[in-house]
């Protein structure tokens, strides 16, 4: 094992451990917080970083064993691009279901888009037409 390989391997191991840490923190947040909106913070991002570290470890390890690989970047990019949208949708769900503290009025417009329900009076909507 050359020195570079060894360093890469150590780095991979380190990345793994860091990643594990973030992942655990993410799920702790998911469990610990007592409000849907606060719960949303931890795993969507901390967890994402954690997986990012694992992907990094995978790349480092690949270089270490002599089969260079960079396609993990693609997954990382994908996760980073989609995570905000996922979080946004989940937040919208909580707002729509009134599961969280009611948000303040927007500054410029009438209301938030999620609360702008097309069903005139939701209370009257009879279940199962």
């Amino acid at each position: 094992m050359t020195l570079v390989e060894m360093i890469l391997t150590y780095a991979a191991a380190l990345s793994l451990l860091i990643g594990s840490g973030f992942i655990i923190v993410g799920v702790i947040g998911l469990l610990k917080f007592n409000d849907p909106m606060t719960r949303l913070h931890a795993p969507t991002k901390v967890g994402t970083i954690g997986i990012g570290m694992l992907l990094l470890a995978s790349m480092l390890n690949a270089f270490a064993v002599g089969t260079p690989s960079i396609h993990e970047l693609l997954i990382m990019a994908f996760l980073f691009v989609t995570a905000p949208i996922s979080a946004n949708f989940i937040a919208k769900v909580s707002i729509h279901r009134r599961d969280c503290v009611t948000p303040p009025e927007p500054l410029a417009d009438e209301t938030w888009s999620t609360l702008n329900s097309p069903d005139a009076s939701p209370a009257e909507a009879s279940p199962n037409s």
């Binding site: 994908f78 691009v81 989609t82 905000p84 949208i85 946004n88 949708f89 919208k92 707002i95 729509h96 209301t111 938030w112 888009s113 999620t114 609360l115 702008n116 329900s117 097309p118 069903d119 939701p122 909507a125 009879s126 279940p127 199962n128 037409s129």
Partner: protein, 954 residues
């Protein structure tokens, strides 16, 4: 004429009256008469052979392996019956032509009649007992049609069904009996069977066979206790009653007893069963007959009685008994047919058959009166008429018969029967024709035209001729008797004589006549007693029985098949587990041949996740949305498990399918209730849970068993691993199996998927074109909807992500042959890409701008796969034979060109088409009346502020 023609003529001729209905009544009757006459003449062409003691045969193989062949035989007995059937048939046809009214469908009537005639001739000419069965059942069927001929009469329908049920039952029993007989002898040919008396009677199966065959005979010939159907068959038009239910069909049972007489009779069993049944029937029929007010009912019971008489004679098993039986068959046919036709005439003219409403017809209908008197007196046993002769012979035989060790039983009962028999004959004459002329007949009676009275008149003449000059028919009767007896015994040397001297039989005859007169004289008080007597009404009992059987059947069938899938599934699961368990416990468990692999913490955690998710799903399945998430997790865990156990292709497929399934279920859940209510009782849940646990244990045990043992021989996949690259050109063995080794499976698989999509599309179309459409348009969502249908961020992301997903799909497709992936997964990925577009900007916006004809995509996919397969034919290789080569075009790397890729392209297209067509169909259901087509990809777009387009809110 060949026997085939004699049998076939009525059947072939049966087509004619039905077809000639339009040609008029006379034509129908005429053609029927001609056909019967032709058969009759044909029969007579064989008479010389018969008279010489010969037997005419004809044979064509039909089902030789089964022993069922078209074997016909004409001997004296057969000739005798055929003569009766065709001869009386001619008279009945003549009579019927005049009897039926203008409203009746004459073509139909004569068609049925000829069918019956053919079947009846078939019975008496069969030399094969299976063939005989065929004709036997055919007479039941044609009788069913004839009794029910007047469709509007409930009595007709009921009578028809009753007759069919009873005779059908007998016929089925007889099938059993005949098959046993055939098995004993080793042949179903009568001529062979009749040679094997000793073999048959020594066989332990003789008694079952005898009982089964006699069941057939007794039901057909209305012997006690199966006599009750015959009177109800009288709902048929009178020609039918005269023909089937007195002269011919009911004699089929008698015929068969006579036919089988050489091999079945002569045993104590035969004697006791047949004689007893005959005796009881004779007495019972006569007693009941006396008190019947309906002319036809009276005659029907008299028929029952006389059939009993003949049966009794056959039962004695003596030569003289057989002789008397044959003679009485002839005599009964003449006088009873005459009586029926006359009764029909009375009915026809007076519009009633009710004896109390009649009387005094003597002067109004002199011809009919004469015929009835001759025939009835013959039946009563008055000398110089043929009935007297055979009745005397019967009484003589009775005096010699010892039943149940009593020499008095048979003669006593025979005399009693004769008394009643004479009584109803006298009542028939007296109460119908004698007495004062009345003025309240429903219709003014007079003698009918000769077409109606001539046939019975001819029979009446025969009654007298035979009665006066029995020596004219004696040789013939002896010839027939000889045929009945076969070579068992010699034909009796006795002669038919009018005067025997003062023998016991004569005293009995005198008692009968005198007793009969006394009974008629005392009729009114006797009737009062009779009416006061409680007696079981056979019809009521039968109907109640049938009704009970039907409601029992209904209760059973509808109770069992109550539309409850849950029960069906439960029974199915229990049956499967039970049968599997049985197989398990009756087998032997071999030694374990594989070592257990250790499980680390990660597999254990994965297992725990899977179990937890599954358990949670069971516990929380009522929240359907949550259930979907949980099932997603189960799928995810299974996928990860597949990765762990070296199956990346499977993991990918599993997970992709999982997501698409969840999308489908979400689309459906939009319409369905979001919660499953609690409906089942705790007990039920416990029961279901127990069954489930048992099923789970079974699958666990089975899986564990196999996992610990190797296959009995090297798995065939060794070949696949060895030849995947060499022969299939791919390193991903799973993919090579899918597109090459077992490409035919995959071909079927994409077809399944294509069909699924077509089905979903077709059903959507049907729903949207049916009553459901209105419901859908007026549907109110079951939960309030959030604003912002097409969120901006999602739309923007999709613009970037969707092309990336497409390129990934393309990559997966290309790499599939050598790395995990392939056409199927690629197809799903591309579908997902399009679904993302739909989720972002909505189906209507996306499809309004770009819409693929998904039907065509499916069709193209399946066709491409198919034509790839066929392509190999052009290089003289079997369907789906693959080929591949490597190509290099700078600047690209060397790449592989394989027919398998073309096949995979077909897979890809079929998958894309199928998934998209299904999703599209689901989403079409959701389009509401209030939804507008949106013009924009996203609802909120501040960059539109400048152009100031109106906002679309929902």
């Amino acid at each position: 004429m060949s026997l085939f023609f004699i049998v076939a003529l009525p059947f072939l001729g049966a087509l004619l009256p039905g077809l000639m209905n339009a040609a008029g009544r006379a034509a129908c009757a005429g053609v029927t008469f001609t056909v019967s006459l032709a058969a009759f003449i044909g029969l007579f062409t064989n008479l010389p052979t018969i008279l010489q003691g010969g037997v005419v045969t004809a044979r064509v193989d039909w089902l030789p392996e089964l022993g069922l062949n078209f074997t016909l035989m004409l001997d004296g007995l057969g000739f005798f019956f055929a003569f009766l059937i065709l001869g009386i048939g001619l008279l009945i046809i003549t009579y019927g032509r005049h009897y039926l009214s203008r409203d009746d469908n004459m073509g139909e009537f004569f068609t049925y009649l000829l069918l019956f005639q053919g079947a009846m001739v078939g019975i008496v000419l069969s030399d094969n007992i299976l063939l005989l069965l065929v004709f036997w059942e055919l007479t039941s069927l044609s009788s069913f049609l004839l009794i029910g001929y007047w469709k509007h009469l409930p009595a007709g329908r009921q009578g028809a069904r009753m007759a069919l049920t009873v005779t059908g039952m007998g016929g089925l029993a007889m099938i059993g009996g005949m098959l046993i007989l055939g098995q004993i002898v080793g042949s179903y040919d009568l001529s062979v069977i009749l040679q094997n008396r000793d073999l048959i009677q020594a066989d332990p199966l003789y008694l079952p066979a005898l009982i089964l065959i006699l069941l057939g005979c007794f039901t057909k010939s209305a012997q006690f206790p199966f006599h009750f159907w015959l009177p109800h068959a009288m709902a048929a038009p009178t020609p039918v009653s005269a023909y089937l239910h007195s002269a011919t069909m009911v004699k089929a049972g008698i015929f068969l007893m006579a036919r089988m007489w050489p091999v079945l009779s002569g045993t104590p069993e035969w004697f006791v069963i047949v004689t007893t049944a005959g005796l009881i029937t004779m007495v019972l029929g006569a007693v009941i007959g006396l008190f019947k007010h309906d002319l036809k009912a009276l005659l029907a019971f008299s028929t029952v009685s006389h059939l009993g008489l003949i049966t009794m004679l056959l039962g004695t098993g003596t030569a003289f008994g057989a002789f008397a039986a044959v003679f009485h068959i002839l005599n009964h046919a003449t006088f009873k047919a005459a009586l029926f036709m006359s009764a029909g005439i009375v009915d026809h003219e007076t519009h009633t058959r009710d004896i109390p409403s009649l009387g005094g017809l003597r002067t109004l209908m002199p011809i009919t009166f004469t015929i009835v008197t001759i025939a009835a007196l013959s039946m009563a046993g008055i000398p110089f008429l043929n009935g007297f002769l055979s009745k005397e012979m019967m009484l003589e035989e009775a005096t010699k018969t010892v039943l149940f060790n009593s020499p008095w039983l048979v003669p006593g009962l025979a005399t009693l029967g004769s008394v009643f028999s004479a009584a109803y004959c006298f009542r028939l004459i007296g109460h119908t024709f004698l007495g004062p002329v009345r003025d309240d007949y429903p219709s003014k009676p007079h003698d009918p035209n000769p077409g109606m009275w001539l046939p019975p008149a001819i029979l009446a003449v025969l009654v007298v001729v035979i009665g006066v000059a029995p020596f004219l028919v004696e040789p013939f009767v002896k010839l027939v008797t000889g045929a009945v007896q076969g070579d068992v015994t010699e034909v009796t040397s006795k002669h038919i004589k009018i005067w025997h001297g003062w023998v016991p039989a004569l005293y009995m005859s005198i008692i009968a006549v005198v007793g009969g007169l006394v009974l008629v004289a005392l009729f009114k008080p006797l009737l009062r007693i009779w009416d006061a007597l409680p007696r079981p009404e056979a019809k009521t009992i039968f109907e109640a029985l049938i009704k009970a059987v039907v409601s029992l059947s209904r209760g059973f069938i509808h109770g069992l098949h109550n539309g409850a899938f849950t029960r069906y599934a439960m029974i199915g699961v229990v049956a499967i587990v039970a049968v599997g368990y049985h197989a398990w416990v009756t087998g032997t468990v071999g030694a374990q041949t594989r070592t257990l692999q250790p499980a680390g913490p990660v597999p254990i955690a994965g297992w725990a996740m899977l179990v937890a998710a599954t358990a949670a799903l069971v516990v929380m399945h009522r929240n359907r949305f949550l259930a979907l998430i949980l099932i997603g997790i189960v799928g995810l865990m299974v996928s990860v498990g597949f990765v762990y156990f070296s199956a990346p292709d499977l993991a990918m497929t599993q997970f992709t399918v999982e997501v698409v399934t969840i999308i489908l279920l979400l689309l459906a859940l939009n319409f369905l209730p979001n919660r499953t209510p609690i409906e089942s009782t705790v007990l039920r849940r416990v029961r279901d849970g127990s069954v489930a646990i048992v099923g789970g244990l079974a699958s666990f045990a089975l899986a564990y068993h196999y996992l610990l043992r190797d296959a009995v021989s090297t798995p065939i996949s060794e070949f696949h691993l060895a030849n995947s690259y060499k022969g299939g050109g791919g390193t991903n063995v799973v993919n090579v199996i899918l597109v090459d080794f077992r490409g035919f499976d995959t071909y079927g698989e994409i077809i399944v998927l294509g069909i699924a999509a077509l089905l979903i599309y077709a059903l959507t179309e049907t729903l949207l074109n049916g009553p459901v459409r209105r419901r859908l348009l007026n549907r109110v969502p079951d939960q309030p909807r959030a604003g912002d249908m097409h969120p901006m961020m999602m739309v923007v992301l999709t613009r970037v992500i969707m092309p990336i997903v497409l390129i990934v799909g393309f990559y997966i497709f290309l790499r599939g042959h050598n790395e995990p992936g392939g056409g199927f997964i690629a197809g799903l990925i591309v579908s997902i890409a399009v679904v993302m577009q739909y989720m972002a900007s909505g189906f209507s916006w996306a499809s309004a701008r770009l819409r693929y004809p998904y039907h065509g995509v499916i069709g193209a996919g399946v066709l491409i796969a198919g034509f790839t397969g066929i392509g190999s034919w052009f290089v003289a290789k079997p369907f789906l034979t693959s080929d591949f080569t490597y190509v290099r075009i700078p600047p690209f790397n060397e790449f592989e060109l394989a027919t398998a890729a073309l096949f995979d392209l077909g897979v890809f297209l079929a998958v894309v088409g199928a998934v998209m067509l299904s999703l599209e169909s689901f989403s079409r259901l959701a389009r509401r009346a209030d939804s507008e087509e949106s013009d924009h990809p996203m609802d909120i777009d501040p960059s539109r502020d400048d152009t100031d387009t109106p906002k679309v809110s929902s």
